[in-house]
């Protein structure tokens, strides 16, 4: 299926394909794509209601709060540092696992995603435990503060950037590297530059995703005592019970989200170029030579090291008195509930974001921009805000759905659609439009052409989207606690409720189960969905 001719390098005004901009999106696609955006915007509407119901007074009171600027800057800095470091690690691992002759590439790929199986709050509590009295790192001083939070978050969420990068780099158009060579560029540096430029949209997309995640992270930052805006939002719910102050802080967080997206947009435009023809069969293989095994060891160290550390810590807690008990039969039903809700949320998210992704990739414009912003906001808002927002609307509009699993899945769609949208969109943007057009000139309808030609190539993107959402949903806590039907048990709740009482020992079993089920999902999908 040679599309013919050499790849064309072209720097578009916005880095997008020219032909699509001149076409209008089908109405059905616009409507289908907007659904997820509207859903994701509900919490923001709720926040506006709560922030302004008490008049402007409390709004200004909150905005005048001393130290607010420092707080906002610290939050933004943490998001920036974690995003940058994650993209750097993810790029290195993605190149190694997707574009070299690394030994055991499939295993390496799975291991590179593995850290996502560890909830950040579990990772942080293990680190706190290890640096505390009796811990391995005792005497190194308490691991606390900005840099501790930055390192822990990076170690456990860089796979958010790895997955899209991996998908992108595995499709690098080899002709580009040939072209670079033919222009006199040679050597590893040139090849890496080509790969970086090729995967730039994925770098930016992944970085933005990590940044947004960091903005909304709560468990690890509070445990490591790095106060961010989200930590303050929780503090306000705890201290005032009025919900207005928390709503105002949450709206500030929304502003940070928009800033984060703005930065992402600038970066994307700056470095973006695309191969006019696209490539469906790409991929390069760099020879590592003597570095094959050291590189393999590095991948294992970064991917499996922190996970292993956490698992060993939990295992050692399991040894304490009461470690194995306390939870008992709840563990199995908790695991079943967590896994089923997470799987359902993954499927719902992929289905609901698919039209939005097609819209964003094929007909970028105002609607797709708004949907992207809404969905990103949902991702960065703390779970408690999303849960309260959905409770607010469900109680008024759909009381029959309140406290049902349906509402929990809806909350997970709000919280995690951004990951799915990003993965699907990146995958679509790298698939050859021309083939679809060719199919249409051969008599296929638009849907038939999409399903017959483009969809099969999207498998890695769909797999990545599903894994990301499912893993996040497994670990999610506040929305699950507040919205699930009363009487249900989830793994995340079991972990949380034991660490809360400082009964670390009884957190060990559900924590391990959570990591185990998540790791199992990663494995399953990596094997089945052709991540490798």
């Amino acid at each position: 299926m040679d599309t013919g001719g050499a790849a064309v390098l072209r720097t578009g005004e916005s880095g997008r394909f020219l032909p699509e901009r001149t076409r209008r999106a089908p109405v059905a696609l616009v409507i289908g794509g907007s659904v997820v955006g509207v859903l994701a915007a509900l919490p923001v509407v709720y926040l506006l209601v709560r922030a302004f119901e008490a008049g402007g007074g409390e709004l200004f009171e909150t905005l005048r709060r001393p130290g607010l600027l420092v707080l906002v800057l610290r939050t933004a800095a943490l998001a920036g540092v974690v995003a940058g470091a994650s993209v750097a690690i993810a790029f290195a691992l993605a190149v190694l696992t997707a574009a070299t002759d690394l030994p055991m590439r499939r295993l390496s790929s799975v291991v590179s995603v593995l850290p996502l199986a560890v909830p950040c709050y579990v990772g942080a509590s293990a680190v706190v435990g290890l640096s505390g009295p009796g811990g391995v790192f005792e005497g190194m001083g308490a691991v606390r503060g900005f840099w501790a939070a930055a390192i822990v978050l990076t170690l456990f969420i860089f796979p958010l950037a790895y997955l899209p990068l991996r998908a992108s780099i595995s499709r690098v158009d080899p002709r580009l590297i040939d072209a670079a060579r033919s222009l006199g560029e040679s050597g590893l540096g040139a090849t890496l530059r080509v790969i970086l430029a090729w995967s730039w949209p994925a770098c930016v997309g992944g970085g933005v995703l990590v940044g947004l995640y960091t903005l909304g992270e709560f468990g690890a930052v509070t445990m490591l005592r790095c106060d961010t805006l989200t930590a303050v939002i929780y503090e306000q719910y705890r201290s005032s019970f009025s919900r207005t102050g928390a709503a105002v802080s949450s709206l500030l967080l929304v502003v940070l989200v928009l800033a984060c997206l703005g930065v992402g947009g600038l970066l994307r435009r700056r470095g973006s170029w695309s191969s006019g023809r696209g490539s469906s069969r790409g991929g390069v293989t760099l020879k590592l030579g003597a570095w094959r095994w050291p590189a393999f060891a590095l991948v294992m160290l970064i991917g499996a090291g922190p996970v292993l550390l956490v698992v060993l810590t939990l295992l050692s807690w399991l040894g304490y008195e009461g470690g194995a008990g306390g939870v008992g039969g709840g563990l199995w039903s908790g695991a079943a509930t967590s896994a089923s809700v997470a799987i359902a949320a993954g499927v719902a998210c992929v289905l609901m974001t698919a039209p939005a992704a097609v819209l964003a990739a094929r007909y970028p414009g105002r609607v797709s921009g708004l949907v992207e912003r809404a969905v990103s906001t949902g991702f960065a808002l703390p779970g408690i805000v999303v849960a309260l927002g959905l409770a607010f609307f469900a109680l008024r509009a759909t009381p029959f759905a309140y406290q049902t699993w349906g509402l929990v899945v809806a909350a997970f769609v709000v919280l995690f659609a951004a990951q799915s949208l990003m993965a699907l969109r990146a995958s679509l943007e790298r698939s050859p439009v021309r083939l679809e057009e060719a199919a249409r000139t051969l008599g296929r309808g638009p849907v038939g052409a999409f399903v017959g030609v483009t969809l099969p190539g999207l498998a890695p993107g769909i797999g990545a989207a599903w894994v990301l959402v499912t893993l996040s949903a497994m670990k999610e806590l506040p929305a699950m606690l507040l919205l699930s039907p009363a009487g249900s048990v989830s793994l995340a709740e079991l972990v949380w409720s034991s660490t809360r009482e400082a009964m670390f020992a009884s957190a060990a079993a559900p924590g391990l189960a959570l990591i185990g089920v998540s790791a199992g999902l990663v494995w399953l999908v990596a094997m089945r969905e052709g991540l490798t």
């Binding site: 709840g330 109680l395 039907p485 409720s497 034991s498 809360r500 969905e529």
Partner: protein, 353 residues
């Protein structure tokens, strides 16, 4: 050929839906006819599953009333209850501290408590006007001075919070400013002595080179290791630690002065006002409170959490005196709900960022 891959996701999705509907039901069918046969109530519990699930199970066995529980943080659940208003499905709220209960009472969310229940505990552990709607304590959490028994002569310990500022304790005091129970004590101080005296006390404490810790547990550990000589904490941390490691050089001292140092806070409960409530559910919720205040449950709390039983005739937790010997308490726990003002004051005093 490519479709096989999607079949996997579709099957997984169907399986998930199936397991879920098997599991808990996508709807809440049990709210209907079945509810009348054997009443069933919904509890929002700010106390952890590990601690209170056995209590609810015993209640179900004893009464046949089914209890469905949502576990969560006390503050998060309070925010949800406020958001739900009278549309809440909750019949009863079990909270970890009096502040959240006071906020819900202020919003008019609680039903009246029958006098038979109110009379089970001392009046200081029941909200004011509980006959018109309020909460009741189910276990007691006292402020204590934890001290290192190797370093300190108990006779020399400060009898009041003012005494902690004495120069002999300079640099020897530990406290957890970000901890909720310490903040509740500061709230009590504000309610009793006013903001000015409170901020003076906090500034003096800071000026005396008192050391801050992340939480009660770390504070007690620091006292045990001799890093500081005394710590301002809640009473059960030292008792719990002593039960785990007998022989640690720590012990509790309970201030008896008429100030916030002798505060006894509570974990408590209230019956929710809700649209779907019936006489049967109200009665069932009151029965559950009565069960929480029964001798067997009170003894269980004392043994598991080292909290003070609030009804007469139940032994205090191991290593603690009887409740009547703790706290001079004329404090109104309902006045502890202005945590926001307390936090602002603490950051003005420089003990919180």
């Amino acid at each position: 050929m490519g479709y096989r891959r999607y079949a996997f996701a579709v099957i997984a999705g169907i399986a998930a839906v199936f397991v879920l509907s098997m599991h808990a039901g996508f709807g809440r069918a049990e709210d209907g006819a079945a509810a009348q046969a054997a009443p069933s109530i919904t509890v929002y519990s700010g106390r952890s599953r590990q601690l209170v699930a056995p209590v609810f199970e015993a209640f179900e066995r004893e009464t046949g009333i089914r209890v469905r529980v949502r576990y969560g943080g006390t503050a998060e659940l309070a925010a949800l209850l406020l958001e739900e208003g009278d549309r809440t499905p909750a019949d009863l709220f079990l909270a970890q501290d009096a502040g959240a209960l006071a906020a819900l009472k202020r919003a008019g969310r609680f039903r009246p408590l029958p006098s038979a229940l109110r009379q089970r505990v001392e009046p200081r552990f029941v909200s004011r006007d509980a006959e018109r709607g309020g909460w009741i304590g189910v276990s007691g959490r006292a402020r204590a001075v934890v001290y290192n028994t190797d370093l300190v002569d108990p006779a020399a310990l400060p009898a009041t919070l003012g005494g902690v500022l004495d120069s002999v304790w300079a640099g020897k005091v530990g406290y957890p400013p970000s901890n909720a129970s310490f903040q509740a004590m500061v709230s009590a101080m504000r309610a009793r002595d006013g903001d000015e005296k409170t901020i003076e006390w906090l500034r003096a404490l800071r000026a005396s080179a008192a050391k801050t810790y992340a939480n009660n547990t770390e504070t007690v550990r620091a006292v045990a290791s001799g890093e500081v000589a005394i710590g301002l904490v809640n009473h059960y941390y030292a008792l719990r630690m002593l039960a785990e490691t007998p022989g640690l050089p720590v012990s509790n001292f309970y201030m008896r002065g008429d100030d916030a140092g002798s505060l006894v806070n509570i974990a408590g409960a209230g019956v929710m006002r809700r649209r779907g409530g019936t006489d049967a559910t109200h009665e069932a919720a009151e029965k559950l409170i009565a069960f929480l205040l029964s001798e067997q449950t009170q003894a269980y709390f004392a043994a598991e959490t080292f909290e003070f039983p609030l009804i007469a005739g139940v032994e205090p937790p191991a290593g603690a005196p009887a409740l009547r010997e703790v706290g001079a308490g004329s404090m109104d726990l309902g006045e502890l709900s202005d945590l926001e003002g307390t936090l602002r004051l603490m950051s003005r005093a420089g003990v919180l960022p």
